[in-house]
Subunit: 323 residues, 3 copies
């Protein structure tokens, strides 16, 4: 006996009495994935469901929490060495859960959430590929900053004022090293004669490394969007990623979205690692999108620092489904 | 604060606006299970929930996906050696998820779905037992064919025309052996003067083994149902199952269903392994069914090929609940 | 595309047709936790969701089942040694699932449910702390009796008559020792001139130990509540907990609840282990509660039996959220 969950919009009248609620959304992908991912082109199938919880206090504060079904298996056991137990369900660890409370004072979010750097800087990537080929090549970067270097359990406070928003964040290191991560970020979004413009600036420090990132993006009325980003990663060892710069140029018209991106790391002591990606999405409506992605980039080898790297490529094509 | 999910039928008017939705159904079993399953008769409790996702594109294609809660723990780690991570949530592996899209062109299903042989051939078993005793004895077979011999991630295309339907399927082997599995199946269902009749025929090949299966079933207006099946399993080693044949005879009257089944394997090089099962179900309505099951069959021993096997039996009785 | 689940009360008219349903509720905690829990004060984030299934047979019996999302990861692998598989989804083991059927005959519950002792005796603790500091100190006890000593898969039958209720329970030991656990419990709840009064008495035996427990509680109209409990744990080894006694005194006024509790174990062969806890809850409405907890108690050491133990303390403060 199957049960149906109703679309939010259809039931505002009935749901008004609910002070707290759990909603479930889902996603799935089907297709094929190839390139240097494996010896042969393979089938690709993936699924997930998200539990989104929300409520409002008598005083008007809103609060909520969410977790994905794929975060309820036992992965992340490097954090939680008991075999098979998810760190999402233990208080001192995180395994994907996020929890927030917000009001006129701003918003506090805790758990597996972005540090202030990642919160402020906007990714250069647009669209989706079932295997994320376009955004996971050797030159790709996602403004992760120092997030996760101390277990990944983050607390972030953010506040908006007009077109600006600012955030501070902390991640506590419980090891002897005590390398707590602190971060600060600001971002701006505005409209200049129809061109949507955004800027982001973030900084994080954990007593060992000081990382900062900037992002800028503009989406014009003709459908062209340009996203750029830069990060100083403060490498501590020769051969480690020291800085990153990237650009994405996209175009959206009707149901179609295409984007090309390029990113490059400068390594400490010399040498670079770079790559580029392509993505095309065609929206079939109702939650179904045809997705094609391609990525290629340098492949690091033992003695290639400073020299020309080998090349690697991957691609995927299929359907991305949202429910 | 508990939330209720509504029955589909009660809310057609409201749900009409939803283009994509997630529904949740559940099942549970409680009872006792005994026989040679363990030293003593034991309690039996089991539960599951299914996330069923569905949607429709603007052009009228329907698509969907589903996964069970019991597929979101970390089992199947032979496929996915990272401790505790479910292969359902990674693209190149399957851990129980299925995803489909269908339209006038037919239907494509990917993930943990039946190959064309299993899709075409109908099981001989009717009813349910909480511990599946009736359908898991030594002589039982479920038309699994070669499914799972290459990781279990299957793509199947099917098409219906009148009372007939046909399917082809593939499962890609990423090992050096490259033993991809291909399958084809056809099935028929019709009505002859009130007797519901079905036939199924399936074939699979993985370059090593060629397996085929046939099934036939008839359900008469007097409540008697006869199901038969045969499979050529193309054993590659002496002592392995080479062919299988089975029959099930059931009777349904009002809330009561009873069935007996018998199955027998011929082993390569001589000898047989067989077994039989009994099941009785009484439907209490509302999703609750009283279930009793019994199974008994040969027990394989090291040097018994060609001789009489020992005997094993198991039984269970309890409630099967659907939500 | 998010979906909303509706509050039960708003939809009685529509849900009336549903014979079986699955509802989902959630909980989350965010805050900080300190004391001797770790080297530093840490963030605390935790989340869970509960699947509650219910139905009614045509004859008017009600049945149901539930499982939590945090029980669908692969923990409890001491019971289920296959890496990553949750014992909730296998029949002969339990991993948190409970299943019941009830009618005029009483109620039968199976799975991860309380034995009759724990069912009858009421905990002395009130309120909640995000890290349960107040109820998990060295002197705390939760009337677990012998539950879990034989795998934790329990069957309990209970029956109510007026202000009284009684239960019997069994837990089957499948090991060679065959130490099945049997239990019996009775409880009473009544009203004496506005004072709500409760008593509980439970007994369990597994052929090795015979454990009993008593509890009594009174909640007065002025908001003061007194809970007391005692348990004879029948220790089998010198230094093991032999008896336990505890008391909790709480006060509720408007949105505020505070409680202090104290518990002490007498060890076989002499010596005691005790501790006390404090909790304060302030209800913000809508499912959000501000929670503060504190606990402190003896720390057992290798040679301290009969002497003064060291002291340990823990505390937490944060938000507990229900959805």
């Amino acid at each position: 006996m199957k049960k149906i969950l109703l679309a939010t919009t259809a039931l505002v009248g009935f749901a008004g009495a609910a002070s707290a609620e759990v909603t479930i959304s889902g996603s799935a992908e089907m297709g094929i994935a190839g390139g240097n991912r494996g010896a042969v082109t393979q089938f690709w199938t993936q699924i997930d469901a998200t539990f989104s919880m929300s409520g409002t206090t008598d005083g008007g504060l809103t609060f909520g929490a969410d977790i994905d079904l794929d975060e309820s298996d036992g992965r992340n056991t490097t954090i939680f060495p008991t075999i098979g137990a998810s760190p999402a369900f233990a208080g001192l660890t995180q395994g994907g859960e996020t929890i927030f409370i917000s009001g006129s004072f701003g918003k506090i979010t805790m758990g597996d959430t972005d540090g202030a750097l990642d919160w402020a800087a906007q990714e250069i990537y647009m669209g989706s590929a079932i295997a994320d080929d376009h955004s996971s090549h050797a030159g790709a970067y996602a403004f992760t900053g120092l997030d996760g270097t101390a277990g990944g359990q983050i607390a972030r406070y953010e506040y908006s004022f007009g077109s600006f928003a600012a955030a501070v964040s902390a991640e506590i290191d419980t090891s002897i090293a005590n390398n707590d991560v602190f971060g600060v970020g600001v971002k701006y979004s505005g409209d200049f004669g129809g061109t949507a413009v955004g800027f982001g600036l973030g900084y994080q420090d954990n007593s060992v490394r000081s990382v900062y990132a900037v992002s800028a993006n503009a989406t014009m009325t003709n459908g062209i969007a340009i996203n750029v980003g830069y990060a100083d990663l403060d490498a501590q060892a020769v051969g480690a990623n020291d800085t990153w710069a990237g650009i994405g140029v996209g175009y959206t018209t009707g149901a179609l979205l295409v984007q090309a991106n390029y990113g490059t790391y400068d390594l400490l002591g010399g040498g670079t690692v770079d790559g580029w990606g392509l993505v095309a999405n065609y929206d079939l409506g109702g939650g179904a999108v045809v997705m094609a992605g391609y990525g290629t980039g340098d492949v690091a080898g033992g003695d290639e620092i400073g020299a020309t790297y080998g090349s690697d490529e991957s691609w995927s094509v299929g359907l991305g489904l949202s429910f």
